[in-house]
């Protein structure tokens, strides 16, 4: 470790223009809110949405390249996930106007600004190919979310959600860093690609390091498993989703989950890919994650059936959806990674849309119980119909986007199992996935039944307010258009595999 070899990596600030812009814009939102005379204005929210749109436009015109060595690499995978982060933040802010109006008196600007800062963290994370910047990006993602989850300070459930999320998040970060320290100790580098080479070289002479690699893998899977709410690290999710403001629950279930997914893909598919397979027997993380994915699908889909609160039901549904996504992750070929990208893209529209409707309904009625939705189709047919479309997409009914998402995930796993004799266990996972997908139809359809086939008309008549209605429309458009015409997104998603060294 001589001091001679410390040099600046190749850097170019242009490649991180979207992040820098969004960060400065977040400061602008805070400054505007704190200096403006009008209290509880909605302007800060519209400003935040405008900032996300401009950041998206800058993102579209940014070329691929090295922003700062391997700590900031702008590449197809990063671009794809950044679109998801910006999109989910946009939809979360758009659906939060009504619900924050009554309940947040003094800190509305901070609500929107913290969402932007969390998005900046996700974007840094998705560009990083290096342990240190990956970890700091993940922290910048979650720390604003702790605050956002407990934003309704007078509400006991919300405060409980914040504390619970904070303790779980801090604990999982500790596990993650502990695991990363083992990886650094084994390889002497924090760069993920260099790490792969160094560990493989050491492993040739010192077979025993495989044992400690297992420990590192388990710790990192546990740490990221908390962020992804992958069983057995999922218990926090229903409580936190139920207590936190509904748009934040939506943002947690899409944005934060996508951030965990890209971090997982960076560490495991990029950094530890070589350590999977029979010749590296003790490090078969693929099978371990596959078992966790099965647990997620079984547990999420069965427990969701018994829920009476719509937010808890959607929480268990999101646990199950992560199970399906992880099938694509453990497939570990170009199709697998592409299907992960497409799945999270389709999931964003359906889930953000569903949560937007829950937020609209909660704002009007103050209730999140499934029973309150009874007979809604008589009084608010548009709301009931759009909600039904989102739920059907989550269940995976053709021709909606959710169907193709599940289809591509299963297809990639089957193709891998056919091509590689040692990957036969993927058949089992696909079997579990297909079976639980049928189960999931029961609870999604149950809500549709409650809304449409109830004898009495609902006592509530829900009117749309402007930004939330726009979000619902975006969700519907995404679910239907990318269901009927998935090719462009699928082609874009297949570019992700380039970032992970797979040739499509």
């Amino acid at each position: 470790m001589s001091s001679m070899d410390i040099t600046f990596p190749a850097f170019d600030l242009r490649f991180m223009a979207p992040e820098i812009f969004l960060f400065l814009w977040a400061l602008f939102v805070f400054a505007y809110d704190v200096t403006s005379k009008r209290k509880s204005s909605t302007a800060a929210g519209y400003l935040a949405m405008l900032g996300l749109m401009i950041a998206g436009a800058i993102l579209a015109y940014t070329n691929y390249g090295q922003g700062y060595g391997s700590m900031f690499l702008f590449e197809p995978a990063a671009k794809f996930f950044k679109i998801i982060f910006l999109g989910s933040a946009f939809m979360a802010i758009g659906s939060s106007f009504g619900i924050t109006k009554e309940r947040i008196i003094n800190h509305r600007g901070e609500f929107f600004g913290l969402i932007l800062l969390s998005t900046v963290g996700m974007m840094f994370l998705s560009s990083s190919n290096e342990l240190l910047s990956l970890y700091i990006g993940l922290e910048l993602t979650t720390i604003p979310l702790f605050v956002l989850a407990s934003f309704f300070k007078d509400n006991k459930l919300s405060v409980e959600a914040g504390i619970k999320y904070f303790i779980v998040g801090a604990f999982s970060s500790a596990l993650l860093v502990y695991g990363m320290s083992f990886l650094y100790g084994l390889s002497g580098t924090t760069d993920l690609v260099q790490m792969k080479i160094n560990i493989a070289m050491t492993h040739l002479t010192f077979k025993e390091i495989g044992v400690i690699l297992v420990l590192a893998n388990v710790l990192i899977i546990a740490g990221l498993g908390f962020k992804l709410s992958l069983p057995p690290f999922h218990q926090w999710a229903p409580d936190v989703y139920e207590g936190s403001p509904t748009p934040i629950a939506a943002f947690l279930s899409v944005g934060s989950k996508a951030a965990g997914l890209i971090a997982f893909a960076k560490i495991f598919v990029n950094g530890l890919y070589a350590f999977n397979g029979p010749e590296m027997a003790p490090n078969d993380w693929g099978i371990l994650v596959g078992i966790l994915a099965c647990a997620a699908m079984i547990l999420g889909n069965t427990v969701a059936i018994r829920q009476t609160n719509i937010k808890r039901m959607l929480a268990y549904s999101s646990i199950a959806q992560v199970g399906y996504i992880m099938i694509g992750m453990v497939t570990m070929n170009d199709l697998g990674i592409a299907s992960v990208g497409f799945y999270i893209f389709a999931y964003m529209f359906a889930n953000m849309g569903a949560f937007a409707i829950v937020a609209i309904f909660e704002e009007r009625t103050g209730s999140c119980e499934i029973q309150s939705y009874a007979g809604l189709s008589h009084t608010s047919p548009v709301l009931a119909t759009t909600f039904a479309v989102f739920l059907l997409s989550l269940a995976g009914i053709p021709p909606l986007a959710g169907f193709f998402a599940k289809f591509f995930v299963f297809a990639s796993a089957i193709k891998m199992a056919q091509a590689d004799a040692t990957a036969g266990w993927l058949y089992w996972i696909v079997g579990v996935g297909l079976l639980t997908a049928v189960f999931s139809l029961y609870y999604y359809a149950n809500i549709i039944k409650v809304m449409f086939f109830s004898k009495e008309a609902s006592p509530y008549r829900v009117h749309y307010t402007f930004p939330s209605f726009g979000i619902v429309l975006i969700g519907i458009a995404g679910v239907i258009i990318f269901g009927l015409y998935p090719e462009p997104i699928l082609k874009f998603a297949s570019d992700i595999s380039l970032s992970f060294g797979f040739l499509p």
Binding site: M71, N106, H107, I136, L140, I212
Partner: protein, 170 residues
């Protein structure tokens, strides 16, 4: 060698203090006394860092954990109405599960680390002189991007802390 023997004694004394005070933190009934023992524990950990030639970590440990975080904890205890002098329960119904998981994890990691004989691979290790200078160079040159993101992280925590800790006025 006499010097390494001295270091050995210091190490065992510090470890003993750490373990005893850490046990006090979780077992005492008065939460205020727990906080004081936590300070002692954190301070002894700084001593261990010095033994390992990690001066920067020792300084950070004293400055942040002993100087700021522990004080913050004591403040939090004093702010809570009537908690400081009250006796609190130390265990709940999950204690057996917790003990089981921790013992399992500790055993698994100790066995796994011991099996690798990882300390045999590099015997010619000598600690670097002036590690803080090298650390500063790494921070300012190679890792300057994460370093700047850390300041965004601190800003986000500052704003978040103010939002949460402020009394709400309607």
């Amino acid at each position: 060698m006499t010097e390494s023997a001295d270091i050995g004694i210091v190490f065992w004394v510090l470890s003993f203090v750490i373990l005893v005070s850490a046990f006090m933190v979780v077992s005492l009934k008065n939460i205020f006394h727990c906080a004081l023992f936590l300070i002692m524990c954190l301070f002894s950990v700084a001593g261990i860092f010095v033994l390992l030639d990690a001066e920067f970590l020792a300084a950070a440990q004293v400055l942040i954990y002993v100087g700021a975080v522990a004080i913050l904890m004591i403040f939090a205890i004093m702010l809570t109405s009537n908690l400081a002098s009250r006796k609190i329960r130390q265990v709940n119904e999950n204690v057996s599960v917790g003990v089981f998981v921790s013992v399992l994890f500790a055993l698994a990691s100790i066995i796994l680390i011991a099996q690798t004989h990882i300390w045999h691979y590099k015997t010619d290790f000598t600690p670097v002189e002036n590690s803080i200078v090298i650390l500063g160079k790494y921070l300012m040159i190679q890792y300057v991007l994460p370093f700047e993101v850390v300041s965004i992280l601190l800003l986000a925590s500052l704003i978040g802390a103010i939002v949460l800790a402020r009394k709400e006025r309607s």
